[in-house]
Symmetry: C2
Subunit: 426 residues, 2 copies
């Protein structure tokens, strides 16, 4: 894409109403726009990143045999009253609204805006689950959640409105459930590795709530994290502070001496739900022996905005982001500096050539000064920056910088594709 | 996909609370699930159709040079008070909610749930539009809209919550605006043709509201339509009853004698907005001569659920849907009937072979009776149905039915790929 056609602009100054690094850099780069605290628009570059994250997650969900669907935001209270979760005293982050009753918008039937989807999914499946032969069922979605957070100061990491991947499993037996739960845990680790956070993300024991002994979180080490975990690097496992005590350490075979207290961001969680929601919504099946049973349920969430924000928190410098190739809006930033007309000609040719090779290129063809271009390029943070200027033209060499290690190399124009290939980044 | 693994089931009986044919067939087929009137979940097969429609629209939007973004549902009232559209008396279909104020959810700041996005888009662009060189700007999204409809009896054709493609244009001059407006009208006709409604969809003059003489609707002929239009088939143009009078007919050079009064479904609309929203939100640019000017705005909408529902209304029979290949969840329905084990072997081979050829195949491998399988197949309505049974095996011929014309042909197994190719459907 030619940058002259991109409608978003960068800005030099941090937004005054943001304290989170992710929001500062993403707003300055024109990736997102703030509507209000915890409510952000995705502008074209930001949406490209979000869609790449979505595609990676979708691949891993499909590989688990899960089927994608799309449930609604508007919620019938009856389904949530059945589980006791419509009451604001039970769930403290509902947004609620009213159906127009013909006279007054604000006096019709009350509706909820979904913050999760156990209840409507279980209720819907009553039409589709009859026999043990229908199990297991794995269903997931990418859907906008609404959570009426009292405070939302972490940029896109704690949204009042945000896109979430939520997967739900329905299994016949505890063994089947646990087997899938572990498969999903492995898929989650693959997802976090693929988006560039593999080395700093750890499976973490957390509270199981009323459903079981433990749930599992996936925590990414970051000073911006709101969670505290105790990490055993050797085992590659951690334990959330909320359940940290000597009894539990012993039960989980953690050696206190080996644990480091660190801040972390919860980028995903997986949760055993037992039969609570199936019972509440009367979702049952007839087992092989003719008895009526409730399926065992699990839920598995990843907030896409939070994951995107975490990538920025972990992989950026003060002057810009450093996108991993797998989620970068473009792999290559091709930048001309002001100079002879031949500079433009060579850059145009390179743009055609790289695009033809299947590389996603943002081509900064704007007629602005070198300083502005380089500052913008640092801020946007694409994996490979290629400079074309009078100087590089005279030397018959391009200046290629790899963002991840900030190393710059001189590469002849006709060797560029091979060079980028050698970086195994196509 | 193996149908035995699809978690949705069909049902024989029409849902009792639906009068619209689209909702009846889609619910019976397991494409959608009703949460409440005007609020539907997309189950796996339904979501596949929705995603195919989305992909077609996205291609056409990108070809116009429009850039995709994603705005939010939660709306700050201040932006809408600037244009006078937050008041329920001015806009009669708001859903509104409240921000948690720390004590009471229902007493915090009031927020709206977006039913359209002119105001937030114009406000956001204040950060990005400075000079006439920044124009034109074309931005679009696929985003969930909320509309508090008093009545919602048309199945997925009138949603209280629905996915909409909304495109907005910002142009420097009236000429630039009109030029893009016409390009978009052509793109819309291509979209409706690609989803299979080309022959029954007509550009239709409609009220311009307060912004101009006319807007344009795209109306699909259907007895299920809520609109009445007067159609000149020769010109391929129509006029909405809402503006039908002798003066306007004359102005638009319609010959009254040639007009037929017909019912139609509005599947899209394009709308000149002038400078109303730019002025209200103070979105301006500095023109070449140094003067401050407001861009001319247009909006261009297609409701994806309504379009999907219209395809069902127009292209179905009482016993099932008839998906065009371009939007079908699968191109081929491969169905085994109960019989010898060789039937299953041949079908397994065909499934592998067709899938390898890049065809999307739903393979009904379920151990159920022939009657149930054929009834389900009619209901689901995939473009090509291939029967493998003892009878077809004995004849060394498959039974291939083309859903669009209901014609059945006998095709040798080794000629199947060529046969489907010859239908130009891959």
């Amino acid at each position: 894409m030619r940058q002259s056609q991109l409608f978003t602009k960068t800005r030099r100054e941090d937004p005054k109403d943001e304290t989170a690094k992710n929001a500062k850099l993403l707003i300055r780069g024109g990736y997102i726009h703030k509507e209000m605290a915890g409510v952000y628009d995705y502008l074209p570059l930001g949406l490209m990143v979000l869609k790449k994250i979505e595609a990676i997650i979708r691949e891993e969900m499909n590989a688990l045999g899960a089927q994608e669907l799309l449930l609604t935001s508007l919620q019938n209270p009856a389904l949530w009253e059945a589980s006791g979760r419509f009451d604001d005293k039970q769930v403290d982050n509902w947004f609620k609204t009213h159906l127009h009753n013909g006279e007054n918008f604000h006096a019709g039937s009350e509706l909820g805006l979904a913050n999760t989807h156990e209840e409507p999914l279980a209720a819907m499946l009553v039409n589709h689950l009859h026999s043990y032969r229908d199990l297991p069922i794995y269903a997931y979605q990418f859907q906008t959640k609404f959570r009426n957070e009292l405070r939302a100061k972490s940029g896109i990491m704690r949204g009042r409105e945000f896109l979430m991947k939520d997967l739900y499993s329905f299994s016949r037996t505890e063994e089947d459930f646990r087997d899938f739960y572990e498969q999903c845990a492995e898929a989650y680790l693959r997802i976090f590795a693929r988006v560039g956070l593999g080395e700093v993300t750890f499976r973490t024991f957390a509270s199981g709530g009323s459903f079981g002994d433990f749930s599992d979180e996936f925590q990414t080490l970051s000073t911006a994290g709101e969670d505290i975990i105790y990490l055993d690097r050797e085992r590659g496992l951690a334990i959330n502070k909320e359940i940290y005590n000597d009894d539990i350490l012993k039960r989980l075979a953690f050696d206190k001496e080996k644990l480091a207290e660190v801040k972390a961001i919860e980028v995903g969680n997986i949760f055993p739900l037992g039969t609570r929601f199936a019972e509440a919504l009367n979702l049952h099946f007839i087992d092989e022996d003719g008895t009526k049973r409730f399926p065992l349920m699990g839920s598995y969430g990843i907030g896409l905005g939070r994951l995107l924000g975490t990538i920025v928190e972990v992989l950026s410098r003060d002057d810009g982001i450093c996108w991993p190739v797998a989620v970068a809006p473009f792999a290559v930033h091709l930048v001309t500096l002001p100079g002879a007309t031949e500079v433009r000609g060579l850059a145009d040719d390179l743009y055609q050539q790289l695009t033809k090779q299947g590389l996603a290129v943002l081509y900064d063809d704007r007629p602005v000064g070198a300083g502005e271009k380089l500052t913008d390029s640092d801020l946007l943070g694409l994996p490979y920056r290629i400079i074309v200027s009078d100087r590089t033209l005279a030397a018959n060499q391009l200046e290629v910088r790899v963002n991840a290690d900030q190393k710059t190399e001189a590469v002849a124009p006709d060797k560029l594709v091979a060079f980028l290939d050698s970086k195994q980044q196509k």
